[in-house]
């Protein structure tokens, strides 16, 4: 028993599957989170991310597969036997206990002698010392959130799980807490596993982001890589925005593949596509695209469209253009030029980009 609690090292999930009576929540999932890193599980609601988290916490048991911390197999052990603590989405503070008693709850259960002193230290870490004597109901959402963090952190868990901890906060507070959580993580140096459906939150906070969809990890990597080079159509859409169109690969040109999209010829670097022949989904990020009134000189990497909407946002101007196929592309252009291009809805315009920014992914349904 004590063995579980003493586990140290990377968090590792091996072929974990969780089936509920009526559906498959997590489907053969394997991943490794390096010790001391900030890891985010990103995905839409119902994608299995919370179930994954609960299996790490021990609140659910996997149907098949194993959960490790370091070399210790935690599969089958109870939540209270694991060196893992959770910050719940609803905070789940004990309403009948004061803030200090809430934080001291874990240390007391582990029979630590200076439980109250540890609690005070943890409250200091989250700057909640002056509220120690209050009951949870007397605190605001943001304050409760900090207490929930302190209550988990005070135990110095090997892995700290955060289940959409900022979901209930308003936008401003959420941004503040993101910075705060990141600071705390750097300060205590623990492994944080953060579950969220907010891609911006995942990208600003995490060292590594895993994008989950329908019980599987679609792609995993540092936020910038995920954004720059999505490997699936789902990731391209879920992490940031993408302009996409279906096309057909027609040939090669040195390091590039040549494809036909919306009647235009486009190029994709061979190492930026998961498809090397046949049909593919071509994509390029909105801020990588420029608009122009005239067809630019050169070798393609442009598409013609009709301007549907122009909105000036200050730092940038955003355009919506309708493609020949009927889909809408968006362009996000920084206002760097002195003379702005004067486009109005209904105008015809060309979109141009650097071939190096384009990416290609498989058409969904054609995946094996």
């Amino acid at each position: 028993m004590a063995g579980f609690r003493g586990a140290q090292g990377n968090l590792r999930l091996e072929n974990v599957t969780k089936e509920f009576t009526d559906f498959l929540a997590v489907d053969d999932l394997s991943l490794e989170v390096p010790r001391g890193s900030f890891f985010a599980l990103l995905g839409p609601s119902g994608c299995g991310k919370t179930t994954t988290l609960r299996m790490v916490a021990g609140l659910e048991q996997p149907t098949t597969g194993r959960v490790f911390i370091g070399d210790t197999d935690l599969t089958g052990s109870r939540p209270y036997e694991r060196p893992v603590n959770t910050v719940f989405q609803s905070y789940a503070l004990f309403p009948h206990l004061t803030i200090r008693e809430n934080v001291a709850f874990g240390p007391k259960r582990r029979k630590q002698k200076d439980a109250l002193k540890l609690a005070d230290e943890a409250l200091e870490l989250v700057q909640m010392t002056q509220f120690a004597g209050r009951k949870p109901a007397q605190l605001s959402g943001g304050q409760q959130q900090r207490v929930a963090c302190a209550r988990a952190l005070v135990n110095h868990p090997e892995v700290l799980l955060l289940d959409e901890p900022l979901g209930a906060l308003d936008l401003k507070l959420r941004r503040e807490m993101q910075v705060e959580l990141k600071r705390i993580q750097t300060e205590v140096g623990l492994t944080f596993v953060h579950v969220t459906h907010d891609q911006e939150e995942a990208m600003t906070m995490a060292d590594t982001v895993a994008v989950m969809n329908q019980g599987r990890i679609e792609q995993m990597g540092p936020p910038e890589v995920l954004y720059d080079l999505p490997k699936t159509k789902f990731v391209a859409n879920f992490v940031g925005q993408s302009n996409m169109g279906e096309g057909k690969i027609t040939g090669t040109d040195g390091d590039f593949l040549v494809a036909e999209v919306y009647g235009s010829t486009v190029r994709i670097r061979k190492d930026r596509t998961t498809v090397q022949s046949g049909n593919l989904v071509f994509g390029v990020r909105p801020e990588k695209v420029k608009v122009s009134r005239n067809k630019p000189e050169g070798i393609g990497n442009d598409v013609r469209g009709i301007v549907k909407d122009v909105s000036f946002i200050g730092v940038a101007t955003s355009y919506l253009l309708e493609m020949p196929s009927g889909t809408t592309w968006s362009v996000y252009e920084q206002n760097l030029d002195l003379d702005r291009i004067d486009l109005k809805p209904g105008d015809e315009a060309w979109m141009i980009w650097d071939a190096g920014h384009a990416f290609g992914v498989e058409i969904e349904g054609e995946q094996s």
């Binding site: 916490a57 021990g58 609140l59 109870r78 939540p79 209270y80 893992v84 603590n85 959770t86 719940f88 989405q89 609803s90 789940a92 503070l93 004990f94 309403p95 009948h96 709850f105 874990g106 259960r109 582990r110 004597g133 209050r134 009951k135 007397q138 209550r151 988990a152 135990n155």
Partner: protein
């Protein structure tokens, strides 16, 4: 009724000095206060018999205590003077205390299972808990009497104190389950998960988190069970044999005339109960104001 009709804004701005007629205003005032008057009237109606019980506890009555004759303190000085009055009160209190404790334990366990677990036969169990509340007391009393007389008497369980206790526990269970279940349903199950996550085992989780949180519901259920048991007459009348509870004592003596001592006891119970309720509410309010 709830909202007094607000005059349309256009009207009030165009004529700043507009005032509805006296008749109209009094009509509105009546409409918005009607429920308050009705409520006070109904509350007075609820208390009228209690007032009678109180007043007639001072009546120096003859054979029957129906008509007011003259004032006396004597019934208050020794309410136990009447044979059976205080004995039956003691029996009632004993029965109520045992029935409350046992039905609260049994009912709370059931409520926990019904909210926190998924199991086969849950619907049937819910039904079994609901039906006793929808069964007239007289039917429960009659059926218990037949089983006690024709069945359990053969194994040495004769009508008396313990058959009353058994019956009272039975009809209290459903009410306890319903009350406690409402409380458990209002709790976030994640709070228990948090306790487990923070190294509390199953027992630790129950005693340090679950139980303190459902305690108000259990106390409410206990109050309910106690008053149901203490005041029960119909079922008790069937299963009590020669044992007498306070309501049975009152009912039996009603045929000859209820002695004023019964009024003294009944009214005292009322005062004690109200003081307890007001006191506990006062304490919790005081505690809240202290921590705030």
């Amino acid at each position: 009724m709830s909202t007094v009709q607000s005059t349309p804004p256009t009207q009030s701005t165009s004529s700043a000095g507009y005032k509805p007629s006296f008749l109209k205003r009094s009509q509105l005032w009546l409409a918005s206060h009607f429920s308050i008057f009705a409520a006070v009237a109904v509350l007075l109606y609820l208390f009228l018999p209690v007032a009678y019980v109180f007043v007639f506890s001072f009546n120096d009555h003859g054979k029957t205590n129906i008509v007011w004759r003259s004032f006396t303190w004597k019934h208050w000085q020794d309410p136990c003077r009447v044979p059976g009055a205080c004995d039956s009160l003691v029996v009632s209190l004993e029965v109520a205390i045992i029935a409350t404790v046992v039905s609260c334990i049994i009912g709370t366990l059931m409520a926990l299972a019904l909210v926190r677990y998924q199991f086969r036969g849950k619907d049937a169990s819910n039904m079994l808990i609901f039906v006793p509340m929808a069964t007239p007391e007289i039917v429960m009393g009659a059926s218990l009497l037949t089983i006690f007389v024709q069945g359990f008497a053969n194994i040495g369980l004769d009508l008396g104190f313990w058959t009353i206790v058994i019956a009272h526990i039975m009809f209290c269970i459903s009410f306890v389950v319903v009350t406690v279940r409402a409380r458990i349903l209002s709790l976030d199950p994640k709070i228990e998960e948090a306790a487990q996550d923070l190294y509390a085992g199953p027992l630790g989780t129950f005693w340090r988190v679950t139980f303190p949180l459902i305690l108000p519901g259990v106390l409410g259920a206990a109050m309910l069970a106690f008053s149901l048991s203490f005041d029960d007459f119909i079922i008790t009348n069937f299963v009590s044999g020669n044992e007498s509870t306070f309501p049975k004592f009152v009912y039996v003596s009603a045929k000859r005339g209820i002695p004023a001592e019964a009024n003294v006891i009944g009214f005292s119970m009322f005062v004690i109960a109200v003081l307890l309720v007001v006191g506990s509410q006062g304490i919790s309010a005081w505690r809240k104001s202290k921590t705030a």
